[in-house]
Symmetry: C2
Subunit: 240 residues, 2 copies
DNA sequence: CGAACACTTGAACCTAATCAATGAGTGTGG
DNA sequence: CCACACTCATTGATTAGGTTCAAGTGTTCG
């Protein structure tokens, strides 16, 4: 796929929330200013601390956003699905990226450098409004996570995280919903603020109860209902 | 103070980050669409769950943003100082406010209803860009807090929270920096994800070491240096 | 085939929550 | 103006949830 391929198919990008309600003409103009960037599995679009040069919309693949603490601890902020914006906070706010963006699979993204994007924002107010909506959404998610971290036990937090993954990356398969990502115990730990040991124990217990089926970097949710019961702290996980 | 007072003094609002780089003419037009709203101490601008009708810029007073969890737990998201935007996330994103805004002191804010503000955003791209900057900033703060919650012990988190309060609301007084807000142990607990008991013990210990001086809803930081040492987990809190 | 990696499980430990009782400061109404 | 009530805060004792450390198993990949 080449730049012109993308530029010639603006309609394929109207489903990107950042580009909602933009006419084909405007969209074309915006896409003309983009550069496509390809990144291989495990490689980085950018690393935490790099000066923020560009922001991206993922077109193919999957990206992990991770943040490193000064003392070497890591947290997994979120997985970026295709069609989503990432790297925007740095461009708008600070001068350096506050997190690293790593490709989970070979990935392709459209990128705009900071100055260009700022111009576009001034030219196309809808673009700015869409970006605002996106950031507002992200803030809500972060506040939700904050709330969970401070008020919920580990087991509930893991249940919530899994349910979110089911929403975002679930694929219906025989006998349940598979989380369609390579997802290690460590990953889940970094998403929920616990250790891989506790995640392992928790998932094992759930497997005993038939709620999930686990494998190496793989989680299949057999009884979403049961997970919800745990997440909501309901009395009895009804057997359906 | 009346609406016309505010509208006639646009220059006094150019220091509001939301209004940066807007000409006096534009600013006047924006202010014409605002309504001032007065709220007494302890009363609410809006409550979590209310349908989002307006967003505000605080002109006088001080506001607490708090979020309630389904199981009755509460977290203190942040204190809004004068000149700052609040209530924007709900207007841009969801349909209901995700948190409650309570006046700490008698307060006055400029308010725009959702539809009006959306129009303004389309008309004045700079306004949208400033809003984006603001939200980006907030996201960084939330991510930082997330990181702290998952990687730091309670004592360090409290130290960080206090240092932030010093930054935002510190007032230099004889013998240190006073946090110029009524700040209970419970408040600090809700900011750091712990209990008022632990906060109480921690502050008492710090008082023993001469780092702070505490009273009822009052914290005076005597040795900011010492707090930094705790927050950064440095070896020895050097005696200056 | 060997090495690296992901995962599991047990045992010991520890931080911080919880529960309970008491003390101090503030405000209000008789 | 004092007494009472209320809110805020302190401190001790106990407990539990989860981390940490350690040892070992199974899987994948070069």
């Amino acid at each position: 796929m080449t730049d012109s391929d993308l530029a010639s198919r603006p309609q394929s990008l109207q489903q990107v929330s950042l580009f909602h309600n933009l006419g084909s003409d405007d969209l074309t103009k915006i896409l003309e200013r983009a550069r496509t960037r390809r990144v291989e599995r495990e490689a980085f679009f950018f690393q935490q601390g790099d000066t923020a040069t560009a922001l991206y919309v993922l077109t193919h693949g999957q990206v992990r956003l991770v943040q490193l603490s000064p003392d070497g601890n890591q947290i997994l902020l979120r997985f970026i699905p295709p069609q989503e914006l990432f790297g925007g906070i740095a461009v708008l706010g600070d001068t350096v990226y506050p997190a690293s963006a790593q490709a989970v699979q070979d990935s392709i993204a459209l990128g705009w450098d900071s100055a260009t994007f700022m111009q576009l924002l001034e030219t196309f107010p809808r673009l700015a409004i869409n970006a605002l909506r996106h950031l507002a959404q992200r803030i809500q998610e972060l506040q939700q996570r904050n709330l969970e971290l401070t008020t919920e036990r580990v087991e509930r937090r893991i249940a919530h995280a899994l349910l979110r993954l089911v929403q975002a990356s679930g694929r219906k398969v025989e006998g349940g919903v598979l989380i369609d990502l390579p997802l290690s115990r460590q990953d889940l730990a970094e998403m929920t603020g616990t250790t891989l040991y506790t995640v392992s124990r928790t998932l094992s217990a759930w497997q005993q109860r038939g709620i999930v089926e686990i494998g190496r970097e793989r989680v299949l949710v057999r009884l979403p209902h049961g997970l919800v019961a745990i997440a909501e702290d309901l009395p009895a996980p009804a057997h359906n």
